[in-house]
Symmetry: C2
Subunit: 199 residues, 2 copies
């Protein structure tokens, strides 16, 4: 025997989400039936609206309702610096610190030969075009993740952009603030020694 | 800085689901934006439809599109036996074995004094009414979970229904088929000795 079709379809929809298997999907579907009708309606609307009303900024690749996005459209920001990140989530994390006032560029991915992702599969061409067109930009900060793929992408970007006379820098690697040295992994410790700062 | 409103609302909707925190909700929301538009639309429709088109069977409490449900409406089933379960999921699990051909009654919960759930908070009154009205029913099998609350509920039902002359039984507890004795917990082992069957 099958569940009635409406709930079977809902379970099927939930299983399409990443990390959600059949058991969890079933639990979520039954929870949905117990929810307020208003909450379910607003959930359904927000799904459709997120898909329909959002686009990627044609300049920087940020997720936005308007094109260009509010960051690219903000002339009070430092127009000379571009921070390159892998994903919109990374942009948001840096933006929420409130300490960076330059521009961004979202790659929507990272170089990953093992996953078959080369320079043409991520937003690098639009970055190069942007830097060629916009002479105000003098520094590119590479803010890819501090793992193998993020480092490889940073190296690639550095070799690509330095010959054009741009300052290319990389976010510092080292001990996380508040962390204990004896819990840090070896590579982080080595990096923190290499990148030591004068007091 | 906040995410654009459509995605912020979607993240908020996802966090209302059980077991989904802000990080997971954000991941799911970004995944939604990457999904096919058709999949998103069908997800939204299935949410609304599951809430709108499903009801609980007025006889047994099963989840259904029609009232009474297909099980209650099926006159070829054994009308003399009612299996009482906690949730629709339990009914579905037993139904999927294909070996039980009687009727069901879904309590939608279990007696739980610690959680403040008494007999009036679950579907017991409708079970009593049903048994009074329908004289064909001769046996009630209590299929609540094999934990403290399920056992307490089984005891309660047994004391409530036996005086009315009904056969009240309980699903067997013991070793799960395929399991190793040395991995079984003590209480299961004791139960399996107590409930031993003649060969």
């Amino acid at each position: 025997m099958q569940y009635p079709e409406p709930i079977a379809k809902l379970i099927d929809s939930y299983t399409k989400l990443p990390g959600i298997g059949l058991k969890t999907a079933t639990r979520l579907a039954f929870h949905t039936i117990d929810m307020d009708e208003d909450d379910v309606t607003s959930f359904a609307q927000s799904l459709v609206s997120a898909k329909r009303d959002l686009r990627f900024c044609s300049i920087c690749g940020n997720l936005t309702e308007t094109d260009p996005c509010v960051i690219c459209a903000d002339v009070t920001r430092d127009q000379t610096t571009v921070l390159v990140v892998e994903e919109v989530k990374d942009l948001m994390a840096i933006e929420n610190t409130g300490e960076y006032h330059g521009l961004y560029h979202v790659l929507h991915g990272v170089l990953s030969p093992l996953a078959g992702k080369g320079p043409d599969d991520i937003n690098i061409e639009s970055l190069v075009m942007r830097l060629q067109k916009n002479e105000a930009i003098a520094e590119v900060i590479v803010g890819t993740n501090a793992n193998a793929e993020g480092e490889a992408t940073a190296m690639y970007l550095s070799r690509l952009l330095k010959p054009a006379g741009l300052d290319v820098s990389r976010l510092a690697t080292g001990l996380a603030v508040g962390s204990d040295i004896d819990y840090a992994d070896e590579i982080t410790l080595i990096k923190s020694v290499e990148g030591r700062t004068k007091l």
